[in-house]
Structures are given as C-alpha cells and as structure tokens.
C-alpha cells in the first residue's frame, strides 16, 4: 500500500470520509459507558463527596487540550518544513477542537474549584498556564484567519504553534515546580494511581471517548478545509488562465 498517496489532500478526502463513522460511533458508546461507570459504579469520595465527579470530564479535557496542542504543533511543523499542505490543513483542523477542550477544562476546573477551594478562579501556576494555552490556540486560529495567503498563514501559524510548545511541560510540571492550590497528578506513568479503580476506569473510558470524538471531528473539519482550499485553488487557476 502506497501511504504517500494519502499525503495528497485529494486522495485523503475520501479515506477520511470512510474513517469518520469508525471513530464517531465508538466515541458515543464510550461516552455513555464512561458516564455510567462514573455516576453509578464509582463510589462517593470520602473527602470531596460527589463534587469530585467533575474529574471524569475535567481531567480528560485538560489532557486533550495539551495533547492536541502538541499534535497541532507537530503537524504545523511538518507542513512548514516539508511544504506539506495536508499537514498544515490538519494543524488548522486540530486547533479548534484543542481550543474547545482547553476552554472546557478551564470551565469545569472553575466549577470544581468553587466547592473545593472556595473560589472559581485563582492566578495560580496551573490555571494561569492553562489559560495561556487557550490564548495560544486563539492566537493560532486568529493568525491563520487574518492572513489571506494560505501558505503564509500556515507558516506564521507554525511559528506560533512551535514556540507555544514550551507551555505544555510548564502546565504539566507546574504543580511540582510551584506551590499551587491545584492538586498533584492522580495518575503517574511510574507508580500507582492515587484514585480508586472504578474512578480511574470512568476517567480512562471518557478519555478514550474524547480521543475518538476528537479524531472524528478533526476529520470532518479537515474534509471541509480540503474542499474550501482546493476549491479556491481551482478557482484561482481558472481565473489566471
């Protein structure tokens, strides 16, 4: 199978269309399953009561915001370095979903902060660096939208996305580097998680659902971007002829 064939937007378009239901349907199933486990199987927390159930959407959305930023920067860099149009289009397609998840993590974190910390917002390291991540997404989207020349817009967006990558480890390690109100990581790569197995299961199921949702939505948006950009390219070629 010649994979390079799919680096062309025209060839990737039908493949993306076929892939969408394979991600969208399992995503919906996993969301229902994760919410069931989170609300009916996971016990009430002995310290936070039922307020902790916000974790099932807060943590996956925060992770998605960070992962999608890295992915967006990766595709933007590939698009810039190799002049690969599809990669730049992919970065544009990811940006809105990444911004949505980052905004969601801030909103749900704020709603969790009020009953546990007594305030919706504090200017602590984790919250502020996550807010900066949202501004980076907004900056990327705005920058791309403000430049008419697509290749220049992609290059400018790539520079911003790559520079902004520095913020992701800052968000992740902020709870270790500074004294913050935000709690430390509940799940570690090395070592045992600090939460009960049913709570962890619900969180991981919803995380998987969020990944599948993101892939499905990004593919739909990517197809839309391909249609819009290729249409313009065809129109421009006709106009020049």
């Amino acid at each position: 199978m010649n994979w390079y064939k799919y680096a062309s937007p025209t060839n990737f378009y039908p493949l993306a269309g076929k892939m969408i239901p394979w991600f969208a349907i399992p995503s919906a199933i996993l969301f229902v399953l994760g919410l069931y486990v989170g609300f009916f199987v996971a016990p009430t927390d002995f310290q936070q009561g039922d307020a902790y159930r916000i974790i099932f959407i807060h943590v996956p959305s925060a992770w998605m915001g960070m992962f999608l930023y890295l992915l967006m920067a990766f595709y933007a860099a590939i698009g810039w370095a190799f002049n690969a149009r599809l990669s730049s289009m992919m970065a544009s397609a990811i940006s809105i979903t990444g911004a949505m998840f980052t905004a969601l993590s801030l909103v749900t974190g704020s709603l969790w902060g009020k009953p546990t910390w007594g305030t919706y917002w504090v200017w602590d390291a984790r919250l502020t660096s996550t807010l900066i991540l949202l501004f980076l997404y907004i900056g990327f989207i705005s920058l791309q939208a403000s430049i008419d020349d697509r290749s220049r817009a992609d290059r400018a967006g790539a520079v911003l996305a790559i520079v902004g990558v520095i913020n992701v480890p800052i968000i992740y390690f902020s709870v270790q580097w500074w004294n913050t109100l935000h709690q430390g990581a509940s799940i570690r790569l090395l070592g045992k998680p600090t939460i009960a197995p049913p709570m962890m299961a619900a969180m991981l199921i919803i995380l998987a659902a969020c990944w599948l949702y993101s892939i499905a939505v990004v593919l739909v948006r990517l197809r839309q971007i391909i249609v819009e950009r290729e249409q313009t390219a065809a129109w421009a070629a006709e106009a020049r002829a």
């Binding site: 307020a51 916000i54 979903t97 749900t108 709603l111 009020k114 939505v217 739909v220 249409q231």
Partner: protein, 54 residues
C-alpha cells in the same frame, strides 16, 4: 449530589454545550459551503450558457 448538583451538572452541561456546539457549528459550515458551491456552479453554468449562445 450531596449539595454539589449545580457544580457537577453545570460541568456536564458545559461539556454538552461546548462539544455539541462544535459539532453543530461544523455541520452548519459544511451546509453553507455546500450551498455556496451549488450557487457558484449555477452562476458558472449561466455564464457558460451565455458564452455559447452569444
């Protein structure tokens, strides 16, 4: 929800609004683009017809 209903349901409502909103905006964008494409092809069709008949 032990007195935390506003915060818990508020979070899931925000999730529904943001994720659902993203899907709705995306589908509307596609619909608009399809309409634009159809109207453009109709206009182009008229131009071609005029050119061939003139």
């Amino acid at each position: 929800m032990g007195g935390y209903a506003f915060y818990v349901w508020g979070s899931y409502l925000a999730t529904l609004i943001l994720m659902g909103g993203e899907v709705v905006v995306l589908l509307r964008r596609r619909k608009l683009s399809d309409q634009q494409k159809r109207s453009t092809s109709v206009v182009q069709g008229k131009v071609i017809t005029n050119e061939t008949t003139s």
